[in-house]
Each structure stands twice: as C-alpha cells, then as structure tokens.
C-alpha cells in the first residue's frame, strides 16, 4: 500500500510549517534515514528524514508552500514492488491517520519473508505526525492530558494550557505537573540508575515527536514563557491591522543635533527614539480613539499617554514605561529612558515600571530593519514599529531628491480601532516627526 508522507511535527508545539525545499524528486528511491525535505517553522529550518523506504510516487505539496498543517499529506511513497503511477493516484485519497495504520498493516507481514514494514508511527525517530484531530487546532482546543495529571493540575492550580506534555504525542502526564510545580523529579528517574550519559549524547528530549538533529535543550525561562504566552494571546485574540507610512526624518535629525549641542552641558544626549516616544505620545493625545483598550465588553479611553518602550535584554525583551510621555520634556524622557533601559538590562526594574502603558513603541532601526509589523502588547490596542532612517530617493515638490526616510508601521487592535482612526494617528505621527517643533510646544 502506498505510504502517505505527512507533514511532521518537528517540535511539540508545531502546528504548521513551510515546506521550504524538497531534497528528493518524484521517481527517486529513498531509504530510511534519507533526507527528504527541509521544513521551516517559525523557529528554525529542519530536515525531514525518511522512515519508510520506497519510491517517491508523487510530491503533493510543492516546495515553498507556507502554512502546511501538521499531518497534511505532502508526498506519497510507493513501496517496493508497487506501481509508482498507481500509487501516486491512490495514496492520497485514503488520507488515513497514522493511528489507523498499524491495524491495517499488522496482518500483512504474516508469512512473509520481508521484515515487518516500518510505518511512520512505529519509530519515534523522525516524527509522530499527530492525527489532525489531536493537534491543538485553532478550532476547539483539546489538551491531551492523563486523568491523573488533570486532577493534579486542578488540585494544584497548574494551568494545563501553559504546559507542554512529555507523554506520548505530547500528552501531559503526572511528571509534567510535578515539574511545573517544582516538585519531585519525573517518574522516569525511578528507573534510571545514576546516568552515565556520555557527554556527546544530546539530552534525551522528553517529547516523543522531537527532532533528531543534535541539539541542546534548556528549560524555558520565566520571561520566555511570559513572552510566549502573551504574544500567542495577542496574535490569537487580537485581529491586527497594519498601517505603514514613510516619514522624512531630516528635520528631526537636525533638531536633535541642535538640541544635543545645547543639552551637552547638562549631560543629556537625546536619541531619535526619545523624540519618537514623545511624538507617539502627543499623537495619541491628539487622536484619543487610538489611546484605548478593550476590557471585556467595555472600551477604555485613556486620559494619559504612557508609552511602553521595547528594550531588548539578555534572554528576552521587556517594555519599561515612560508615563505621561506627552507632557514630559524631551530631556526628561531621555534621562528616564536611559535609567530604565539600564536597569532593565540588569533585571532591576520594579513591576510598576514595566506593567501598564497605553501603547507601545518598538524600534529596530539600529539593526537596519526597513520596516516591520509588531505584535500588540495586550491589553494595549496599538504598537508603533519603527524602521531604520535611510537615505532614499524621495519625491519632494515633484522632483526626485535624496532624503532620510523612515518607515513606521502601526499595529492596531481592529476590534477597538477603525482603520480610519488608525490612519489618522499615523498621519499625525508623521506630521509631528516631519515638523518636530510641533511637539516641543
């Protein structure tokens, strides 16, 4: 019977991926262990190895295809002695899940000389393509958890949704709850003699469907878990709308160097970002429909513009807040920002200094990023993504000139903010940055 090659889950949380590249073509013979394809997830590009042997009868999903769901048939392999042409037609239709497979195959080897056929599910080596129904699909969440683990989680107040299971197929088991609680070691250790694990051996990953490339594993830090949870929440619950404007920066850069010259004796040096924080705050006060938050069935409109500023720190990212940035002087913003960023890097921020804020700003200009779409920081309703100021050809008064241009993209919570209101904010922001004296007054 032709074998349906399914999109593998290359990590316990993977739901879909990009089929970046096929390393085989139709008609190629493959043996167990051959590299079949490169698959990209949001995290990494990984190689997909063959488990079965046979001939590639048909490539179902072309390379370069994005968002291929885990478990989707991506190719069909004809087994030895099978008609490749027939297999290429027949295989895909059956669409059987791996769970059904062993049953059907079991009787086959009887009386045959051939060693029992290796189907995808019997070896944990490559993947364990989760049957579609089991994947934590966007429609209806099903958490795989043992009865005991479910009860322990209830009793101990552990959030099952925040755990990744180490049982078969990512099932959450007792050991995972114990680990989450910081309790005793997983059950496994009972069987383990003092492990003399050779140094070269990669840590045995608990996830059954983990990938087999040598790797190191480390437990997620608290910050990483928070980032993961909040960003997922944002992308899953907030319908984002993105609005981009190109902003001429020359006047702001000129103003900045003039101000810095006069501020030098006071030991203050304004960054472009300091000015942009102020510009965003002033814009938000001018367009209050964007200085909002959805709270259950209510819309809050804030009377102050507190700007959360994304600061990259070792091991993650944090967003210290400049409160009332609309009313603060640039030098105050600059001084505060320097202090907050410094303490953020040392991990010494107080909770109120990074929790709250009415909108965010994230600047990747220093990395040469032209423009990007940022993820909203809930419960806020907007974030401004700042690209690099670059000399670009620019049409000014109907003639092509060179100007320093910066692209800024606002991400808006479309439930709370209409496109036109978001556009108005972008317009005001652009106006302020292009004519920066407006924010000094």
């Amino acid at each position: 019977m032709p074998i349906n090659l399914q999109m593998p889950a290359l990590s316990p949380t993977m739901e879909e991926g990009t089929l970046a590249k096929w390393l085989v073509k139709e008609g190629d013979e493959v043996a167990s262990g051959d590299l079949l394809a490169e698959i990209e997830t949001d995290k990494a590009t990984m190689e997909f190895e063959a488990v079965d042997e046979g001939t590639i009868a048909k490539i179902v999903v072309a390379e370069g295809t994005d968002n291929v769901k885990v478990g989707e048939v991506i190719a069909i392999i004809a087994e030895e002695g099978e008609d490749v042409a027939a297999a290429s037609k027949g295989g895909a239709e059956s669409g059987e899940s791996s769970a059904e497979k062993p049953k059907k195959e079991a009787p086959a080897p009887k009386g045959e000389e051939k060693p029992a056929k290796l189907s995808q599910d019997v070896t944990p080596k490559v993947t364990d393509p989760a049957p579609k129904g089991d994947a934590p699909a966007s429609d209806g969440e099903r958490i795989k958890v043992s009865p005991l683990a479910r009860r322990l989680a209830e009793q101990k107040g552990v959030d099952l949704g925040a755990l990744s299971g180490s049982g078969p197929g990512g099932r959450i088991i007792k050991a995972d709850i114990d680990a989450a609680e910081g309790g005793s070691a997983p059950v496994n250790s009972q069987a383990a003699a003092p492990a003399p694990a050779p140094a070269v051996t990669p840590a045995p990953a608990p996830a059954a469907n983990d990938f087999d490339i040598p790797h190191t594993s480390e437990k997620l830090s608290g910050m990483r878990k928070t980032i993961a949870r909040r960003l997922t929440e944002a992308k899953q619950t907030i319908p984002h709308i993105y609005l981009t404007v190109d902003i001429q920066l020359d006047k702001l850069l000129k103003l900045r160097s003039e101000l810095n010259a006069t501020l030098e004796p006071r030991g203050v040096k304004l960054s472009v970002n300091d000015l942009l924080i102020k510009a965003l705050a002033v814009s938000l006060m001018q367009v209050p429909k964007c200085n909002v938050s959805i709270d259950g069935d209510q819309l809050k409109t804030f009377a102050r513009a507190d700007i959360s500023v994304a600061v990259s720190i070792p091991g993650g990212l944090i967003t210290p807040i400049i409160t009332s940035a609309d009313t603060k002087s640039l030098s105050t913003i600059s001084t505060e920002m320097k202090d907050l960023a410094g303490r953020a890097k040392d991990g010494k921020l107080k909770m109120h200094e990074y929790q709250g804020g009415t909108a965010s700003i994230s600047n990747m200009g220093m990395f040469g990023i032209k423009n990007f779409d940022a993820v909203i920081n809930p419960p806020q309703a907007m974030i401004m993504a700042i690209g690099a100021g670059q000399k670009r050809p620019h049409v000014i008064d109907d003639s092509l000139q060179i100007a320093t241009i910066m692209s800024a993209t606002g991400s808006f919570d479309h439930r709370a903010i209409d496109g036109a209101d978001g556009a108005q904010l972008m317009q005001v922001f652009k106006e302020l940055v292009e004519n920066p004296l407006g924010m000094l007054a």
């Binding site: 043996a31 167990s32 262990g33 042997e53 045959e112 000389e113 060693p115 029992a116 290796l118 019997v122 070896t123 944990p124 080596k125 043992s146 009865p147 005991l148 683990a149 009860r151 322990l152 009793q155 049982g167 078969p168 088991i173 007792k174 059950v187 496994n188 250790s189 009972q190 069987a191 383990a192 003699a193 003092p194 492990a195 003399p196 694990a197 050779p198 070269v200 051996t201 045995p204 990953a205 608990p206 996830a207 059954a208 983990d210 087999d212």
Partner: protein, 465 residues
C-alpha cells in the same frame, strides 16, 4: 575475518531476541549470539515450561475434584515422565518459533559463547572455532542463573535448582523448597499437586515477600490447607546428602534448631547475573552493588555503545521487563526517544495455586512513600463467575492515593488473576484515577467484575458485598 553489523545482541532470551527483532524492523543489520538455546531461560527452562508443568498439575487437581462438578474420575494418577515430556515439547515448539522469527527478520544467529573483547567487537567461541563480529552498538542480554547456597550446591540428584526441578530424575516424595519467591512457590505448588509432601522454608517473615502482606497471609493459609508445611522467619543451616536422601538442619522463627529428613531439595534463593564471561572488567562497565550491570533509563551502560537489558541489569527480574527494555534500548540506538521504563507499572505474576498477580505499590510501600491511601478489597466469593467456576478462593485489592485518586497498586490472588492484572496495568500506564475505573463497563459474568468492585469498595460504593 570480522563480520560487521549495526547491532550485536549477546543472549537470545526474551530481552535479547525481542531487541533483535525490533532492531531488524528499524533497519539495523543485527546479529544475535546464543550459547545454548534460542529463547533463553524463559522459553526453554523458565516461564514457559513451568507453565506447562503447572497446567498438568492444575488438570490433575481438577480431576481429583471431579466430584465437586458432578463428574466421576476414577483411578486417576500422574505420570511425571509424561508431564515433563509435554513440558519439554512446549519449550521445543517455542524454541523453533524463535528460530523462525530470527530467520524471518534476517537476523544472523551465531551459536557460541560471546565475549566483548573491545568496544564494538565481540568474539564468539563457536563449534568451529572463534568468530569475530563487529558493530557500533552492543546489547548485553546474558540474563541470570540461580543463586547457589554455599552449603547446598546443586548436584541434580538430591539438590536441585529450578532447572533440575523441571526435568526431575524421579518424583520427590518429601520435598524441601528453600525460598518462597515466585520460583520456589511455583515448584512447591507443582510438586504438592503432583502428590509430594512439601515443606517451604522462607527467611523473611512471610511467603512471597515482595507481594502485599495480605496476599502473603492468604497464600500461606491456602498452601497450608493444601497440605504444605510453611516455615517463615526460618533458615536452613546445613544440608547433608546421602544415598537415601537429605538431612537438613532448620532453625525456625523461634531460634529452635531441628533436623529434618527429605528426599529432595529445591534451592530457589534468588538469581545472580551472568556477567563473568562478558568482558565487563576489561571494558570498565560498571556493576551495581549486587553485581548487576548499571544502566540508565535508556538502558545505556557507562560505556558508550554498550547497552544492557533484562536480568543482567537491576530488577525486577522478569521476562516482560527484559523484552520491554530490549525495545527501549534499540529505539534509543536507532536515534529515537523511547519512553523510559517505570518500574511501578511492571506487573508481576506467580503461577502457584492460587495464582498471584500484582502491579505497583503494596499498601505498606504506599504508606511508606507518604501516601494517604484508600484501599479496596473484593473477595472471589462475591463474584458469580467465580462461584460458577468453583473457584471461590481469593480476593482483589486496590490501593489509591486518597487525595489524588491515583491508582498506586493492585494485588490479586485467586483463579486466573494473572490474566486480569493487565487491566490495571493499562490503567496505571494511562495514569488513571478511580473515576475512569468506576466509569468503565466490565463484562458480566467475568472474574474481571471483581476489579470493578474492588475500586468501588475503596470508595465505599461496593455493590455486591
């Protein structure tokens, strides 16, 4: 000239041959080295042939009780030679079965004594001379043998190990069994049913000491009722053999020594691992404090590329544990991430009469581990099927964590319980709580209904008591 493989398995018992089959399934070129019989002790000299013997004993027992069922059986007798012959036939058939499995899976069988001479290299002394095999990975599955008593070395005439007891030179009239673990009790039960006068001496304060205390107590009573003499907390101090029989000095639980005469002795005081000829020292493979090979959760030894499974490693020393470890080791070798073994989910079965089966923690061990427990107990006498079978002796006990409802252990004694225990084992492996067990529909009329009732009893909801 060395033949090269992906994997060499030393020993073809239930650990080794299963490992070899799994390796072949995963595409590894595999050789298996065996010095005696394919299938190892389990299949040739252990689990299987003893079950054949015990089946004969059971049928014989039923024949003797034919009248209980309204039947008549007169002039019944047992022919030990014929019983043993049947048992050997069963072992032989399965040995051939394993031979066939090796062939089907294209596994090279090398008959001879294997020794790891260096990492990745095994020398086998075969009939034709020495053969050299090489492989990146080696699994040691050489098993174990009966432990000797220094003052009672088995001679096969008067002093037997399990192996002699399986092919006895004659029917013992008065038998002393030293040790009341699974092996000792099974032979005691067999020879008792066959008509011998049996005495069991156990050093610990109860028979089958690894089982739950209530099981031990119940079994002791039952064996005594069947006519056995049971001496617990007792020790055999010396043994003298003569042409007529055996004189044993036994110290009882009160410290009183007395001399007893027996026709034969079975020594069943545990096992010792077959590690001497494997080459452990030369390779620096670490043993544990009982000289079994130390392994981690993936059956790796401290030497890279060398794995160990089954009786040659730490306990429990059971065939099914060995087989399961064989699969784990091979999947780890093939680069997979097999699940690690949880000893609490390995069931144990003893085929004495009545049978014993258990999984997980005993009540005492559960309390020792700090659990607040809920205990259920249901007797065979309350089960319709048991009464219909005429097997009303026994009970099923379950132990739960009172707080979480985790099934910690299950302990059974009575007819056919060895066929029931896997129900609880599946439940434990799936991490069941009492709720799922209560919600499970058990078929009527079966002995398995007692499994349900025992759980209900733990939560004071028992129906048929």
């Amino acid at each position: 000239m060395a033949k090269s493989y992906d994997l060499i398995v030393l020993g073809s018992g239930p650990g080794g041959y299963v490992a070899a089959i799994r390796a072949s399934q995963l595409g590894l070129k595999t050789a298996i080295v065996e010095r005696e019989n394919l299938g190892g002790i389990c299949l040739n000299w252990g689990c299987i042939p003893t079950k054949a013997l015990l089946r004969s004993a059971e049928v014989f027992h039923n024949m003797k009780h034919a009248a209980d069922y309204g039947l008549a059986a007169e002039k019944i007798s047992a022919d030990l030679d014929a019983v043993v012959k049947r048992s050997r036939g069963v072992a032989n058939q399965l040995n051939k079965g394993v031979t066939g499995l090796m062939k089907k899976n294209k596994i090279d069988v090398v008959m001879g004594d294997g020794k790891i001479v260096e990492k990745g290299k095994v020398a086998v002394k075969t009939e034709k001379g020495e053969e050299e095999l090489t492989a990146k990975n080696i699994i040691i599955a050489t098993g174990a043998r009966a432990r000797d008593l220094p003052f009672a070395k088995a001679d096969g005439k008067r002093i037997w190990t399990y192996r002699h007891a399986m092919t006895p030179p004659e029917m013992p009239k008065k038998l002393l069994v030293i040790g009341s673990g699974a092996i000792g009790i099974e032979f005691a039960s067999f020879y008792n049913d066959m008509g011998a006068e049996v005495t069991v001496v156990e050093m610990m304060d109860r028979v089958v000491p690894v089982e739950d205390e209530e099981i031990s107590k119940f079994l002791e009573k039952s064996l005594k009722k069947q006519g056995m003499t049971i001496m617990t907390g007792a020790g055999v101090k010396s043994i003298e053999t003569s042409a007529k029989g055996v004189k044993a000095e036994i110290e009882d639980s009160k410290g009183k020594k007395a001399s007893h005469d027996f026709s034969h002795v079975i020594v069943a005081v545990g096992i010792q691992p077959n590690v001497e000829t494997v080459g452990l020292d030369e390779l620096g493979i670490e043993p544990d404090e009982r000289f079994h090979i130390k392994t981690d959760a993936m059956c790796r030894t401290n030497v890279e590329g060398i794995y160990a499974i089954g009786d040659v490693t730490g306990g429990p020393w059971l065939a099914h544990k060995a087989s399961h470890e064989g699969v784990i080791a091979v999947e780890a070798i093939a680069g997979g991430h097999p699940h690690a073994m949880d000893v609490n989910n390995i069931p144990g079965c003893t085929y004495c009469h009545p049978q014993i089966a258990s999984v997980g923690l005993t009540e005492a061990k559960a309390k020792e581990a700090g659990h607040d427990v809920k205990v259920g107990n249901f007797p065979f006498i309350g089960n319709g099927k048991a009464i219909a079978l005429g097997e009303t002796e026994g009970f099923i006990k379950t132990v739960f964590d009172a707080k979480t409802g985790e099934l910690l252990g299950a302990h059974m004694i009575g007819a056919e319980v060895t066929e029931l225990i896997q129900g609880y084992t599946v439940g434990k492996t799936l991490e069941t709580t009492e709720a799922e067990l209560m919600n499970t529909v058990f078929p009527h009329p079966t002995l398995s209904e007692m499994m349900h009732e025992s759980v209900l009893d733990a939560y004071e909801r028992v129906l048929h008591m």
